[in-house]
């Protein structure tokens, strides 16, 4: 039997009791649902609420974002919602965990088969679709949509475009936003679950549209375009000196050819300029509406929780709707009533008596496990004391990696606060 650790010791309130109202409270961060149940987050209340249309899973690399996103999506689908999960992951982990061999830039229906109980997806009319972001293809599609065919060809052939569209920094985040906007515009799904790119910083995802906007709005762009604009004499006068310096240095470093490529790329970009900015802003707006829920995902490790803290602060600064924190891989003991200290003492006593080496080893194993469980609890408590309004859902550490639908279902149950079934 596994005991669900509750910090308050109070019994958990039942799932989905206060559904919509709780969501509305959460939408502004730290609302009713977040405080209810002394900080326990029930994700059924978020994912099954018809008002929730988008869930964004964010957090640092390696904390289980992809698994969390897939588990939530599967659970919502099996409870009757039509769900698409968007993952951005070069290692194709979602593909592995969902038993798919191929994920491309379009959503594909996932065969969820028989879930083994009466809550199978088919029974409740839900559907699960999954897709993996193809960053370059998404970028190409935007170019095609915003430029004439000739112009688009020029852009595709430009080496700077090729570098920018296939690189990871920034572009991936922006394209994830773009794809999310596209999926939402199609309005075919009740719920879109997004897994964010494995950024060096969890914040890159939020910053990407603004950075791109700043970039496209930037002085540099205008400087590079300046020679192409006849009649901009007054403007050139102002920037003239620095512009001369800029081109001189650039020519020196990258050569005339590259400078010409860069200049023409920037010129081509400008034709799509408005479209880019508008779409980035629309998606950003979309994310700040109450139909969106951000989930910050972390593991009980200092680095991951530090990133989670930054993210929580940023979301609240920007008025983004935070549903709570998912804490993955939390170690728990199955016999919490026996402390690490007592187990150690008992093991030492057995060593002295002799003859019970196996039991002594079992007790030491338990002591180690209690120590780790205590450490994880302390990590969570530290986070909670810094962010008392953020509700937390814990997923216990599993002995094995999640790589099938049953594994995702087990994670889904933990996210909804269901007691894990006895082994």
């Amino acid at each position: 039997m596994t005991e669900r650790v509750s910090r308050s010791g109070a019994p958990r309130s039942g799932p989905a009791r206060s559904g919509g109202a709780a969501r509305a409270g959460q939408a502004r961060g730290g609302g009713a649902a977040a405080r209810r149940g002394q900080g326990e987050l029930d994700l059924d209340e978020v994912a099954l609420d018809p008002k929730t249309r988008i869930i964004v899973c964010c957090g640092s690399g390696g904390v289980g974002k992809t698994t969390t996103a897939a588990a939530l999506a599967l659970r919502a689908a099996e409870q009757g919602r039509k769900v698409v999960v968007l993952t951005i992951d070069p290692a194709r982990r979602l593909a592995q965990s969902m038993g798919l061999t191929e994920l491309d830039n379009t959503p594909r229906r996932v065969d969820t088969g028989d879930s083994g109980d009466e809550t199978g997806a088919a029974d409740k009319g839900g559907e699960l679709h999954a897709m993996m972001l193809d960053m370059k293809r998404t970028f190409d599609e935007i170019v095609s949509a915003h430029a004439t065919p000739d112009r688009a060809e020029q852009i595709f052939a430009n080496p700077f475009y090729q570098s920018l569209s296939s690189s990871f920094a920034g572009t991936q985040e922006y394209m994830a936003m773009e794809k999310l906007g596209q999926l939402r515009a199609r309005d075919e799904w009740d719920l879109i679950v997004v897994d964010t790119p494995p950024s060096r910083s969890a914040l890159d995802f939020l910053d990407a549209p603004q950075r791109l906007g700043r970039f496209l709005d930037g002085r540099m762009l205008r400087l590079l375009l300046a020679p192409a604009r006849a009649g901009g004499r007054a403007y050139l006068k102002v920037v003239g000196a620095s512009f001369g310096l800029f081109t001189r240095i650039l020519t020196k470093i990258i050569g005339t050819d590259a400078l010409r490529d860069l200049s023409s790329f920037v010129g081509a970009l400008e034709t799509m300029f408005g479209g880019f900015r508008e779409r980035a802003q629309q998606t950003y707006q979309l994310l700040s509406t109450p139909g969106t829920a951000f989930l910050v995902v972390a593991a009980p490790e200092p680095d991951a929780l530090r990133e989670a803290s930054y993210f929580v602060e940023r979301l609240s600064e920007q008025g983004m709707p935070l549903a709570g924190l998912v804490l993955n891989r939390v170690r728990r003991s199955l016999a919490p009533e026996l402390s690490a200290g007592r187990a150690e003492v008992a093991a030492a006593a057995l060593d002295e008596q002799g003859g019970h080496a196996t039991t002594a080893a079992v007790l030491r194993l338990h002591a180690e496990r209690m120590t780790l469980a205590t450490r994880d609890r302390r990590m969570r408590d530290r986070f909670t004391s810094a962010h008392p309004d953020v509700a937390v859902a814990e997923v216990p550490a599993l002995p094995e990696d999640v790589h099938d639908l049953d594994g995702l279902r087990a994670v889904g149950r933990a996210l909804s606060g269901e007691r894990p079934t006895a082994p």
Binding site: S163, L350, L365
Partner: protein, 330 residues
């Protein structure tokens, strides 16, 4: 099995990568400490602007400047550097073109940010270029650093990050950037460099390591060792462990043992379940250990520390690397 001879005993640049969450920064720091023993000097470099080294060593954020961050047991030292692409570009302009003030003007105009945004390959050349400069730096006829350890981007991005010539080839067909990238690449592909991969004995990190190693090899980048992080010894004698992995714990012995220790009999069930989980985890780790061994690379194990890693923990990890032969003088 026939494998290429390990390349890295001659290496002076140690690139450390790994899947997110495997502890690559910790492993890089432990490696830098281990290599600094016997009075040597190493440089530990980070390039992702995360200030992970400052957090690990519990120091204020690192500037763009090489600072002593730790002392190795017998007189060696570890210096640390957080490379920032803007600073690296300014330094580059000053060093090669004497453009100090112009560089600052460019930064004020946002040119540096612009250049590194529009051409990420160029940013990577600046970062790896700075690393190469440290590796090859000579003062008064001596190498400044015996070894440079780079806390590199994670496995998903490592090949693109290191394969700088491919990244800038299309952008700059001639000129100094191209020459610069070729110089960097020559060092990265030489026996001076070893790319080490940090993994855990879990399925996905091992799979990503295997994939990354194949990609690195395909690009001609020299793969060094596999650093297996957070390993734990089995807590049970082998026969009991094997039985527990199969789901069986000797209930009679456990009941007798608990009674002898004066503990409640009701603990037997949960303790048996914990033992089975431990044994199953051990069995999975063993499978993953075999998958790592099949790579035919030098493999070093770093033990799991029950407390979050601090400086003391780093010394302990470095010592374990030393015991396994890391940093032994040829």
């Amino acid at each position: 099995m026939s494998h290429p001879a390990p390349v890295w005993p001659q290496a002076r640049l140690h690139v450390v990568t790994g899947k997110g969450g495997t502890g690559k920064t910790t492993a890089a720091a432990a490696l830098a400490l281990a290599l600094a023993a016997d009075g040597r000097r190493t440089l530990l470099v980070e390039v992702e602007g995360r200030q992970g080294l400052a957090q690990l060593f519990d120091t204020p954020p690192l500037p763009y400047q090489e600072r002593r961050i730790a002392v190795a047991p017998d007189g060696g030292e570890v210096r640390a550097l957080a490379v920032d692409p803007e600073e690296a570009l300014l330094e580059y302009l000053e060093m090669f073109y004497g453009l100090k003030r112009a560089g600052r003007a460019l930064r004020r105009m946002g040119a540096v940010d612009f250049a590194t945004t529009i051409a990420p390959g160029m940013r990577d050349v600046l970062l790896t270029g700075k690393v190469k400069e440290a590796v090859t730096r000579v003062e008064q006829g001596h190498r400044v650093y015996d070894a440079v350890v780079l806390d590199a981007p994670p496995t998903g991005r490592i090949v693109r990050f290191l394969n700088v010539t491919a990244e800038v080839a299309g952008l700059a067909r001639v000129g100094p950037i191209k020459a610069q990238s070729e110089g960097v690449m020559a060092v990265l592909r030489s026996t001076q460099t070893a790319v080490h991969v940090v993994t855990l004995l879990e399925e996905m990190p091992v799979q990503e390591s295997v994939d990354a190693i194949a990609e690195l090899r395909a690009c001609g980048l020299p793969v060094g060792a596999v650093l297996v992080n957070m390993t734990r010894p089995p807590r049970l004698p082998e026969p009991a462990l094997l039985a527990a992995a199969a789901g069986t714990v000797d209930a009679g012995e456990l009941a007798a043992g608990l009674a002898a220790a004066g503990l409640a009999a009701s603990l037997a069930g949960p303790l048996a379940a914990e033992t089975v989980e431990h044994a199953q985890r051990w069995a999975l780790e063993d499978e993953n250990r075999a998958a790592v061994a099949a790579l035919g690379l030098l493999t070093y194990e770093l033990p799991f520390l029950s407390e979050p890693v601090d400086l003391g923990g780093l010394y302990a990890l470095a010592e374990r690397l030393r015991e396994q032969g890391v940093g032994a003088q040829a």
